[in-house]
Symmetry: C2
Subunit: 157 residues, 2 copies
């Protein structure tokens, strides 16, 4: 996580592959980008050290492990005092059902992504997260009917 990323065309080509499948052998990557396996390996390690690559993870299908419901919540707070906002961030982030949490500008303050097994679970979660929190003014719920595109891939072109 030192300082200078400074990625060249090789790095970008490697990232493009790893974002789709990080089990691709370094040799195979090397062939596709015209580099030797050790060169590929060193570039990957460098990008991991610099934080360009945040993590290497398996993506699992929520429905297949008993979390068929994806919900999307806009939260509006009463006060935007720094310490209250920070407390809210920490509170949301530590909940496993909350996959994603963003602090945003606009008509809402927070945007959350939640996966749950049942609507009853969601209802319980709202009670814990929103109704029990004095600083939450209101929230709006959107239930996902279709996960059209789900990923965290960033274009590198």
């Amino acid at each position: 996580m030192t300082a200078p990323p400074n990625l060249d065309a090789f790095d970008r080509a490697i990232l493009s592959i790893l974002q789709k499948d990080n089990t691709t052998p370094q040799r195979a990557i090397g062939e596709r980008v015209n580099l030797s396996a050790p060169a590929v390996q060193r570039r990957i390690r460098r990008m991991e050290e610099h934080g360009v690559i945040r993590a290497n993870v398996a993506l699992v299908d929520p429905a297949k492990i008993g979390h068929p419901i994806t919900i999307f919540v806009e939260v509006e707070v009463e006060s935007e005092r720094a310490e209250l906002i920070d407390a809210a961030k920490r509170g949301f982030a530590e909940v496993p059902e909350v996959q994603q949490c963003y602090y945003v500008t606009g008509e809402a303050d927070f945007i959350l992504f939640v996966t749950v097994a049942t609507m009853a679970d969601y209802e319980a979660l709202t009670r814990r997260l929103f109704f029990a929190n004095n600083n939450v003014k209101r929230f709006r719920t959107f239930v996902a009917m279709d996960r059209v595109k789900v990923g965290l891939e960033v274009p590198v072109g």
Copy 2:
């Protein structure tokens, strides 16, 4: 992707590990869940075949590769006729800057997640995606100030 997932405690423990770091050696996984490396490997392969594990990917920090802006958009359409909705789904999904797209119930119809390098890029994207599309009634933009929690991890407990 055949039929029956039917995951036991071993599978869930393995998923929990792989969702955080899928470079963990099978031997190390085996030690943590009390299973041999081959057993771990067979379970992983089975979950991949059944689609429980959708993909293995590297997560990249958007800011480090020139996409510092994360934007979040609610889209409302004019008509919900099936073919128009399908066309919209395909149209959104094929755009690389659109990381995530959900079709939702509630006050909006689609929710999009977009990463861009500059606001000018976003402006150009809105013109292409929304203003040039007759079926888009209106859209609301939220700009992320803080990516409090970003991931696709699903709780397995």
